[in-house]
Symmetry: C2
DNA sequence: CAACTATATGCATATCCATATATATACCAT
DNA sequence: ATGGTATATATATGGATATGCATATAGTTG
């Protein structure tokens, strides 16, 4: 379940906003794709994902050694709407696009054949 | 002008969300009304208002000794939309209503005659 | 000028939080 | 079992920030 204080805490960090924007755009991504796209360290990304999972924003699916994150389907409408506005509005869109572009050129992405 | 990092920083604090919800509801409020409604100290509220003013969310109008705060008219649409969703969605609405109720019973509010 | 009110700010402190590094866990293959 | 890959976590640390208390500023009135 979503905790409102935790929800807005999540949005206050730029790394988490970048991760959310990517996941929103792609639907589902694994940790390796996320920290590759952001050019960040694996522990850093993993920790931020844990924060968002515990806050109720993300849900997890394990497939072999890979762990895939997506938006939690139980997210209230108002929260999902805020995430959409966050990802599409304002001056930070270029940064998000840069992340998406880097993800697009990532070699050996998992599951790319089946999606 | 609005700084995006500062914008989401603003939303991560519950006191600031309460202040924003009240201002959104009433249009314009002075500092004394705000810290009365929230039952918070005057320096605390003044500090938070300064943060929001410097972030580009609020604009200020002075009238005698009173200082009135309102939403900055230059706020981008996506930011205003997020504020609206924040103020109306979810489990924190009762808290906001409590603040509004307390404001409604405040004695000797400034300018109540002309609004 | 002085006194009063409303608001802002300086300072000290405590707490939270993001990050780096290192290490642990989980899963798969051989 | 061993080795390899993907992910999570433990610990330490520096930095940001919310808050209380005291004080300063700005405006009004006498």
């Amino acid at each position: 379940m979503l905790h409102e204080q935790a929800f807005f805490n999540v949005l206050s960090d730029e790394t988490r906003r970048r991760l959310l924007a990517l996941i929103l755009r792609e639907g589902e991504l694994c940790v390796c794709e996320l920290f590759y796209a952001l050019e960040a360290s694996q522990p850093k990304v993993s920790r931020h994902l844990a924060v968002m999972r515990e806050a109720g924003l993300l849900s997890v699916r394990r497939e072999g050694t890979w762990v895939f994150y997506r938006l939690d389907a139980r997210l209230p409408q108002w929260a999902a709407d805020i995430l959409g506005l966050m990802a599409q509005g304002g001056a930070r869109v270029p940064l998000f696009q840069r992340d998406a572009q880097r993800l697009a050129v990532m070699p050996e992405r998992p599951m790319t054949c089946c999606r």
